[in-house]
Assembly symmetry: C2
Homo-oligomer: 219 residues x 2
């Protein structure tokens, strides 16, 4: 996918602005598990995802994690260029969850074009509003949904992303996504197993009753 | 405070843009307790706070509340004009927490100017990034800080906002701010009382040991 296809307002940029962005871009590849951005002091640039999957998460002082949102093919990752706005005052870590290929646009060049182009500034606004909506959705989940519903929803989402009903995932990693201790995950998965919704074996969780999980997650 | 003082980039707008914003603005007053914005379908416009205090919160299906952030004199309230961006996909309620005077700029006019003015679009970006940072801070608190610390921090903040050590506030309202049931608040306040940090009486919480509360909130 070409760079300009990520920007529906590309034609509203001047030729000079277009070439500025193009010349500040190159392609990068990241291996599954690699950290591609780490906190506020890190300002690599914007990632435009060509293939693969990124996960944005925060991490507590004690090292516990919670997934904020994920980015897929065609998505733009803004917070890896947090220095483009001084009001972004939070730390986020971004890792490649699968082998990932991206366009990288250098933060400084992007900022310069955004400062003079209303179409690019407004488009950037929309990207941020999308991520804001993701986080507000998550907040809602955490505050008001019980853990069994969140776990059921997570398993179904993973199953759909990986296109399999047998997930290769440890209880610890599930805990990292949901901001919960491993023990809590294990306890709930065992309950799910006793209800016939999953089947557990070493390193895998097999979803055995999608309907029941679906019903639980929407409760 | 004049309208233009809210916008540090005012001089970068054209005369036509300035008058468009000015002619789409008027002053409004709200009484303490009044709901000034209610969810996504409501798109009144931007509030520029002249005096008073607004509280932005979300509400669960069961009617439980949690405070997202507050806005004070000189602040701009963006999400009361959520229709200016289509990617804003979450419901927020905004109430006047004190008698409040605002400038109101109609959403449609603001959107029009923002679409053609890079300075205004970038400034709007910064406002949104500030609120995003508030919400990320809150998420961090909810996920990783225990309730005693959050309650101590809340009491200290209220005390500083109201400029008094004797807060006129019910346990239910505290619960609404922190997203917690009234009973949980009452139990924790009683524990604080037994530790000499507060003194409880009908409808008031008196902070009696600021140092100890401070220490607890920073733990």
């Amino acid at each position: 996918m070409e760079l300009k296809e990520y920007f529906p307002m590309w034609e509203k940029l001047t030729t000079a602005q277009q070439s500025r962005l193009l010349s500040a871009s190159d392609q990068r590849s990241y291996k599954k598990g690699q950290i591609v951005h780490n906190g506020l002091t890190d300002c690599t640039g914007l990632f435009l995802i060509q293939s693969g999957q990124l996960r944005a998460y925060t991490i507590s002082d004690e090292g516990r994690e919670i997934t904020m949102y994920r980015l897929f093919e065609r998505d733009i990752c803004l917070f890896s260029a947090s220095c483009i706005m001084r009001s972004i005052q939070f730390d986020i870590v971004i890792e490649a969850e699968k082998d990932t290929k991206v366009w990288l646009i250098q933060a400084e060049a992007y900022k310069k074009v955004m400062e003079e182009s209303a179409p690019l500034a407004n488009y950037t606004n929309e990207i941020m509003a999308s991520r804001f909506s993701d986080v507000m959705w998550l907040m809602d989940q955490i505050m008001w949904k019980s853990f069994d519903r969140r776990l059921a929803a997570f398993l179904l989402e993973e199953s759909s992303l990986e296109n399999t009903s047998t997930l290769k995932i440890t209880h610890e990693i599930i805990g990292n996504h949901l901001g919960t201790a491993r023990e809590v995950v294990t306890r709930m998965l065992r309950y799910f197993q006793s209800e016939g919704m999953v089947k557990l074996s070493r390193g895998t969780v097999e979803l055995t009753d999608m309907d029941k999980l679906e019903k639980l997650s929407n409760k």
